[in-house]
Symmetry: C2
Subunit: 431 residues, 2 copies
């Protein structure tokens, strides 16, 4: 008996109406009229079926800080708002509640995998497991003390403990997160890469996000960030680099030859005035590019469809080239390229791939007439059109209703933190 | 007796919960607890109230062509797809049905004014009046023959007839639309501006959209597009210029001193690879800037909230300056600046302003916690959060349901045109 059958969905990448059969988390049937028993049926007539999104760079619990200090320059935003509030409030409770809000939003907008870097990731793991969403989790490793650890050695020891505790699970996996070139010494970076090899982990790091980061690396190390990482032996197929806005031709070749991957966050890069990453050039060179939203306090949401649409339009506009990227390539970057970057066989609607997909209802004025489902998904749709979400064969949302999380609780914890944080800000301004 | 009271809405620009009283299309009361009889009550507790959007540049009936030829370069897209299909299909029926789909989408996403330039605008007027939405309407005036007219003289004569037939109405108003510098001779442009003065009309024109348009003008007239228009006496407070991507410092000063207005279409400019307009510089100089989506075949939707969010992020990112534009300025460009550009006192929530506003429901994960309604509207919200739309005091949508248009009919006409257009494309490819 099959676990799930989705009946009569228009499978966008096939251009055909098909029944999809799922068993043990995998797509096992794709037929025009599937006649087999199943534990659960979804009637998808008139709906579009796409792979779900992989949000490859975020700090999901920062949902609790979204909208605060909007329009401040990056360093003011960090120093005057974010770090002050994080110093005051970040705790396992904060991280857990922020993850609850963020994961509810992520599922609602069609995401079934996110890569997270923050504090107290055990608390994110707890919510992700409850929600049934995939997550690559790691806390930031830094040279200076935070609530997590005091010294690089302590961060690395804790990272190893975290990795061993969370390895071998079905949906979540530990990731090593040295924060950046400007917050980790060469020694910390080397030890982190060594640990990643020993424990067979992916590494998630911020790289070349701003011009000033590049200037700082040149001053300190005589090398640009990507060159610096390469010289430390840090670039390999297990290295996932967020942003990568500022690179030379030579650095792009180092990325390509090492097999390191780029996690592109176009809306955060725009909003924080970091710049426009040369993504169509990376793709042309054969660099593995994925997409992410960055944290919901710097974007300010976790909307991968908006991110995808911004990415493709931005590459065309900034390069003055309408052929800089096409809709099918953009869709692949937001889906399959994300999953495959961390070894998950998902993001395509094929037999043998994981059952990670979404249904959309196109019976709405902004999607009509519907000529080209892929182009209209990329250019015309909005994430609220996502109607149903399946992750690893499990239904996380159906007809707009979350099936694994309680939205009443989401609103309740949001209210609680709004009161606490606004109270603190009020007191700070008064005194 | 008041016509409408909206109870207990959080009025974002006031930061307060207020009751709004409406009479004869105007906001006439704003109080904490309004105790007056009214013909209709909307309970807005927990909802946010913002001004509605003014979409200042579109070709709304092109909704029937959305998604076709996506990813083609501009001239291929126009010559191989759009002009071929328009030549075959454009008729009053096409324009009317396209306007029906487009206006339904516009209302759903919170727009109560659009400026349209296409063919057979009488058909757009018919739907706009039925829908109860504001519209500035004009057909494109060109030097070459189309279904509308054969010669510039005939276009201008018809434009005068159209202007006289549609003047003096409450919601719709005629606009003169010489298409562009590269499609209208200096003589046509001069006569158009003269006609606009005689009949007291706004002029709506495409200006400096692409680099190649600038090169063409330099070659033909020895002047860049804005300089050329200035030298013809075409720039005045009645001149509304769409795009204005490519300008020199001197041209920006000509725009400023003449009082001509800029209709910014960031997503179309990106998608068609036209470029990134220097909007924050225009705003700094005191140029009147409004926002538009352009036609739904080149964007590919009529989503003003998405357009607004793209505009502000793009200005920050392209200028590498997080202070290039703030959320309040961006909101004003998408609302008040649009209405005031065509002399309508709307786009602010104040007594004496037109009752053009929207309600949003923020009880959703992606808008929680809600600290700063304006910043989170601009950065976090999506147009599907628009719940209720009021235009000139009339309720066009309430709790997600259109009140003046039949969405069954929208889907019906979309299906009809999809079949016709796909049939034609199939035949063309086969033969």
């Amino acid at each position: 008996m099959l676990d799930l059958i989705v009946k009569k969905a228009l499978v966008a990448e096939k251009g055909k109406v098909l029944d999809i059969g799922v068993k043990d988390g995998l797509i096992v049937r794709m037929e025009e009229n599937l006649q087999e028993p199943a534990k659960y049926l979804i009637h998808a007539q008139g709906k579009l079926l796409f792979p779900s999104f992989a949000n490859m760079h975020t700090h999901i619990s920062m949902s609790l800080l979204r909208g605060l200090g909007a329009d401040l320059p990056l360093m003011d935003w960090l120093q005057k708002v974010i770090w002050v509030l994080e110093g005051e409030f970040v705790s396992p409770e904060f991280v857990r509640d922020g993850a609850l809000i963020g994961i509810a939003e992520a599922i609602r907008s069609g995401t079934t995998l996110f890569m997270d870097m923050y504090f107290f990731e055990e608390a994110v793991a707890e919510v992700a497991l409850q929600a049934g969403i995939r997550a690559g989790l790691g806390f930031g490793i830094l040279d200076f003390p935070t609530k997590v650890a005091k010294t690089p050695e302590e961060y690395l020891r804790r990272a190893k403990e975290f990795a061993r505790a969370f390895k071998g699970q079905e949906l979540i996996f530990p990731v090593l997160c040295p924060h950046a070139v400007y917050t980790c010494s060469p020694d910390t970076l080397k030890k982190a890469h060594q640990l990643a090899q020993e424990e067979d982990l992916y590494i998630h790091i911020h790289v070349a996000e701003t011009k000033s980061e590049v200037e700082g690396a040149l001053e300190k190390f005589g090398k640009r960030p990507v060159e610096h990482l390469y010289s430390l032996g840090f670039l390999s197929e297990r290295t996932l680099m967020a942003h990568v806005v500022w690179t030379t031709e030579e650095e792009r070749e180092l990325i390509k030859s090492s097999g390191a991957k780029v996690l592109h966050c176009p809306e955060s890069n725009l909003k924080l005035a970091s710049g426009i990453a040369p993504i169509s050039d990376y793709v042309r060179r054969g660099i593995h590019v994925c997409l992410g939203t960055d944290g919901p306090a710097s974007n300010d949401n976790l909307d991968m469809l908006e991110e995808l649409s911004t990415m493709i339009k931005l590459q065309k506009g900034a390069n003055l080239d309408a052929k800089a990227m096409d809709a099918r390539t953009a869709l692949k970057i937001a889906t399959e390229k994300g999953f495959s970057a961390v070894g998950i066989k998902a993001g395509r609607i094929e037999i043998g791939y994981s059952a990670d997909f979404i249904l959309l209802d196109p019976q709405k004025p902004h999607l009509q007439p519907l000529y080209d489902p892929i182009a209209q998904f990329v250019y015309s749709a909005r994430s609220s059109d996502v109607d149903t979400v399946v992750c690893n064969g499990r239904v996380l949302m159906e007809k707009g209703e979350l099936k694994t999380l309680d939205e009443e609780e989401v609103l309740h914890v949001a209210k609680k933190w709004k009161e606490r944080i606004e109270g603190f800000l009020r007191d700070k301004i008064i005194h």
